[in-house]
Amino acid sequence: MKNKFILLLKAGLSYTFASSKMGFGSKSKGKKIGIIILFAFLGIYLAAFSAIITVLFYENVSAAGLKMLIPSLFVSASAILNLLSALFTSAGFLFKAKDLPILFPLPVSHRTVLAVKFTQFYLTEVLISLITLGVSMVTFYVLDGVTLMGLITGVVGIFIAPLLPMSIGVAIAFGVGMLIRNFKYKNQITTAITVISSVALVLAYYAASNLQGDFIIANAKALIDKVSSIYFPTRLFVNAFEGDVLSLLLFIAVNVLPLIILFLLVSLRYSSLVASFNTERTSSDYIYTAGSASSTFGTFLSKEIKRVLTSSMYLLNSCSSMLMLGMYAILSFKLKTLPDQLFGVSPELAEDILYLTMAGLIALACGFTSTSASSISLEAKTLWILRSIPVDIKTIFNAKALTNAIIQLPVATAAIIFICIVLGFSIVKSLLLLALAAIVLLAASYGGLVTNLLFPKLDWQNEMQVIKQSAASGLYILFSFVIATLFIGLAVLGMIFLHLDSLTLVMGVAALYMFLFLILHGITLGWGVRKFQRIY
């Protein structure tokens, strides 16, 4: 079994991590090195984020002697992220992987196949744990020193803590999947559940952000108790961190045992469960009724929008920028007091700073993700349809690009109007922010297409490998981040050195994005069309 397990695991991982499968199939060494740098940058960026939060927390709570709040909160935060990830990705790994029909007939036990799938799933979850809990633990050791038990607990925590959330996530995802498998609108229901959970997360974030430093310090014990009561392994982790070996053993047991039980239960009837999970509602009572004809562009647009809306994974990961905007809208209540906090500057300048800050955040959010960055890769085996029908490739591209704008613009508009009302921006300033959002979304739409055309990935097993793990999606995030930083940086320099007012500066940023959109549009419909003809 061991050899077969390793053989299958290597084959499975090659789809996820091997360079040729990440979307840059060319033999160019430069490209491969570029992608390694890209993913290293993204890893460092996320790790730095965790480290900064740890430092800020440490400064707040260490003086009060409540340092243990840090491991407590980070092991909980890591568990929540693992749980969310497991809820949305576990079915793709365990029950809907496209290679399962190939693996089941092989002379390998189904238990081995399940072990391979669980391992692939676990490796993804450990990455989350490394970036959140791992980085915060290292930062904590640097700030506070290392004890042997603290070190052991930290290392064990990173690799063991994802297991319980994985088990819970698999059980919920499987249960929900089985429950709604025969529903007519099961994809839409899954998507709605996803969006509602994500909004709930944003609201929880807002509630957490209301906690002031003084409150945290005054109620640290109660907070740890509360967190522990919600997720009890936190208490075991904290106790182990403080030197209790029994707590460490219990922490390992409560994480490992459920997964072992779940694994054994699923392995009993793995292929039957997969078959049941993938059973779909079918009806044989359809009666033809005349529909309505549509234009070629209209029908492609409808196809693309439906593609996004029927995949919770695609919607959540490609439109997470809208969650960022929702968060800004909620946080705008806090930013309202920013001008008052800017002592020594005139009220006009304070408002200019506030307006430019919001414009920067909106530009960053609207460009941060794009459905188009994976829309070509998602065609995969259906690409033959697009290649054999009489349609201008530009029409396909424009439909894919517009889909991103159409899906994100209503949320962006609502959030920006809310922000403008809360912060009391004038109508002109508000309209400019709306125009900026629209222009950034358009640039993002074509930017996503360009990155996807640069690194198409057509041989995926589950769509997560395209949407979350492909070179194109990684490059797109980096691209959008660099562009937003550059443009907003220029605006800040204009404010400092040229003393320009915020309205002029935001108009300048919008003009830069418009220029970028025109360039990307030209590249997509020129080079992109030629590149598309060579992809297969």
Partner: protein, 234 residues
Amino acid sequence: MLVIQSLTKSYSPEKKAVDDLSLTIEDGDIYGFIGHNGAGKTTTLKSITGIIPFESGTVTFNGIDLSKQPELYKSNIAYIPDNPDLYENMTGIKYINFLADVFSVSQQDRDSLIPRYADAFELTGNLGSPISSYSHGMKQKLALIAAFVHKPRLLILDEPFVGLDPKAAYTLKEFMKELCAGGGSIFFSTHVLEVAEKLCNKIAIIKEGKLVRSGLIDDVRGDSTLENLFLELV
């Protein structure tokens, strides 16, 4: 009339998948394309439908060059691969209407042709279900219905009878004959020599990317059977 002239396609510099292939498919032809696995049949079909680019040669349909006017060229043809992967999130009827929109099929034609072909392939009742719930054969039937609805002048099929039940295979043959009787033409690959022998008026045999024999089926096989000829040639 489809004219393929000196078509050459390589996947690597060392080996040509299709080597200087020339073939003419006239209106009314049911042209069978046979060869062993890896001979270049699918590559040829994908090349002449615009799915994959080719290095040299020309492909024209009624004088319309695939390389110069790809949309106009493709508006005359329909292609169905051996393993049709369709848009799984669509229902069957959505997929048919999607292609009908692309090929600008009138509402009147849809209302008459969709029920006709869907009933013939016994798929009408399933058209409201998502394609992800379809079996391989049902997907093949759906692809065929969607292709026939836009009334192609040339139908290009890759192993069309694999996966179809006997009744559907018979129905397909009848529709193929009907299309050709109306002035259309069909070019299809197959491993089933009996089908080729009974259905086709012309046949082409490909070996290692090169056309080794082509023309009227009686002229090609001579006094031999198609099976004997095939074994002899490839």
